[in-house]
Symmetry: C2
């Protein structure tokens, strides 16, 4: 992230529970919130997400900060729910936010940054896809179709778009009171020409749509009216990225523009951000064998050392280790002078020593 | 740590409170424990230290692990106490442990590793000092002096050795019932010849004492009978390291041998470990201006880009960024086409761009 011009920040794991109850919506802020009363009778929660802490901190130092902020963090977050594939009780999440730049070219830069992060893992264009949409377009289209009063039902149907078949969608929309022609309009949203026309009314979205092929080339990135990101606080561009391997169907990352981020704290600054969780990303790295090779091993060649006496040991510390350290080479010393040399040798080999020095 | 042959592990932030109430002693396991009952009525604590989690996990997988384990972790830990200089409610702590090697040359290697970690920060020998002692020596000496029954009082006096004057020490020891000659013996422990002689009875300690000058050269490392590390679980070598700047008097790190680490879980394996906290270390890095230069800045030269139109922007994304990314150079784009060019230029300069490309 530093190579993309971002600075790292951190925040406490514990916050007052109220921060999430007000801010994070029913699911995160209530059902899944890991909260309790501490020894001082304070109502405390383990953070279920990083954004409310970010908003609280930026609002508190609003006058002192140089905007725009381009910040990232890799916090662990907690959800009180049954663990399942791709969703764990404790997880780590890359958070990236730009605060203080209105909708515009930064929205395009954000999508570009995502492709660069995938490239950083060595991912190939056929292995992932990015889908984006725009809350403003969706809301104007609902208005145009006179469907504003059904907004929450339609958002819910779009949110589950690829998980439900047409029958279920139709039933849900019918139950909410939509007419047959309105239902048809929602079901055909993906091919709706008016929707595409409205999209071009938003300058930042037009910039992205017009230059998609030029800038992103072979990356699979598509404008998809069904991407809404739940009911939460987004105000403009929204996006998600997916593994193209169907065994890993949950979004790898999601985010968008949320210009009312700081409203709760009485401040105003436009913002765009994303969250990228570790659980689905770990599945992605498994699927395409993209784990960094040196993640669990030592730097460079690890040298094994087989002293047979304290005298050898002194030689190691005064002559050999200074050289190995100067080259930043890892080492491991077997201290078991009494044991069979062959066994000691093969034990060091098994522990990852590529070179072994004997005495 | 990887360069020193260690592997990284992680553990949960939450554990059952019982783990610490049993294991961590009065201060950590009771008064300072941040504990609560969760929604499932479980008695839970935020970890105040990493070692009990390590012991629990190693014991659980005891049969599958290849010993010796050489492991490290950098967890955040929590203490319910008033924040003060060098002690915060949430802090980060490097934990290093070797499990499965008995007292021997590994104890020397541990002290060597500490000097290497200081060297990694660019610290000079005059900026820090290491002090070590041995619980076995101390206990044998207490036996020799027939002072075993006063062990906890004497440990407490040694623990506060450099914080209290002779009068206070004398009063405490007198109150506990020591005779005048016994009090004198304790007060002169630092120069006690018998204590030095007992030290040579322990092979691993003898190895360290005999080779101190040869191996550690100009590092300030001294055998100091007053280092005890509280009443907690140590069984052999104990050590602490200090900033030589008197404004930062708390230990930077501490640790030692604790061969009964796994006893609580019904397993047996000798072990040696250390904890190195971030708060006093941050003071140390402040004192000697040793913060890594690139900690809060981007990698390499950061390039500022000043487009005046969407057309310039496309050029940036298709021609310039691919080159910058290939060189892993950080960039920042100013999107405010309308604003005065001079102001935009100086704003990018202020944001750390050493090179600026105009259109």
């Amino acid at each position: 992230m530093r190579g993309l011009g971002y600075q790292q920040y951190d925040a406490p794991i514990l916050e007052e529970a109220e921060l999430y109850i007000q801010k994070s919506g029913e699911e995160l802020g209530n059902k899944q919130l890991y909260h309790f009363y501490d020894k001082g009778e304070r109502h405390i929660a383990l953070r279920p997400e990083m954004t409310p802490s970010l908003a609280r901190m930026v609002a508190a130092k609003f006058g002192e900060l140089k905007f725009p902020l381009k910040w990232f963090s890799i916090p662990n977050c907690f959800r009180y729910e049954r663990p399942q594939k791709g969703r764990l009780r404790e997880f780590w999440q890359l958070n990236v936010d730009v605060i203080g730049l209105p909708a515009g070219p930064i929205d395009l830069e954000f999508l570009y940054m995502i492709t660069q992060l995938f490239a950083g893992f060595g991912a190939k264009p056929e292995q992932f896809q990015i889908k984006f949409n725009h809350r403003g377009v969706l809301d104007r289209w609902l208005q145009y179709q006179k469907l504003e009063s059904y907004k929450s039902t339609i958002y819910a149907v779009l949110d589950d778009w690829y998980k439900t078949d047409e029958e279920v969608k139709t039933a849900t929309l019918k139950e909410a009171g939509l007419s047959q022609s309105q239902i048809t309009a929602v079901l055909k949203l993906n091919q709706d020409r008016t929707y595409q026309e409205i999209a071009y009314e938003f300058a930042e979205l037009r910039l992205i749509l017009v230059n998609l092929g030029t800038i992103f080339q072979d990356v699979q990135i598509t404008f998809d009216p069904t991407i809404v990101r739940g009911l939460a606080y987004y105000t403009g561009l929204v996006f998600e990225a997916f593994d193209t391997n169907p065994n890993n169907s949950r979004a790898l990352l999601g985010g968008g523009r949320y210009d009312d981020l700081l409203d709760l704290f009485g401040k105003q600054a436009p913002a765009i951000g994303l969250g990228w969780g570790d659980a689905t990303m770990a599945n992605f790295l498994d699927n395409w064998q993209l784990w960094p090779a040196d993640l669990h091993s030592s730097a460079g060649v690890k040298v094994g050392l087989l002293p047979n006496s304290d005298q050898d040991l002194i030689k190691i510390y005064t002559e050999i280790l200074p050289q190995l350290r100067a080259n930043n080479q890892a080492f491991e010393i077997d201290y078991d002078y009494q044991r069979n040399l062959k066994k000691r040798y093969s034990s060091l080999k098994k522990r990852g020593c590529q070179e072994i020095i004997q005495f």
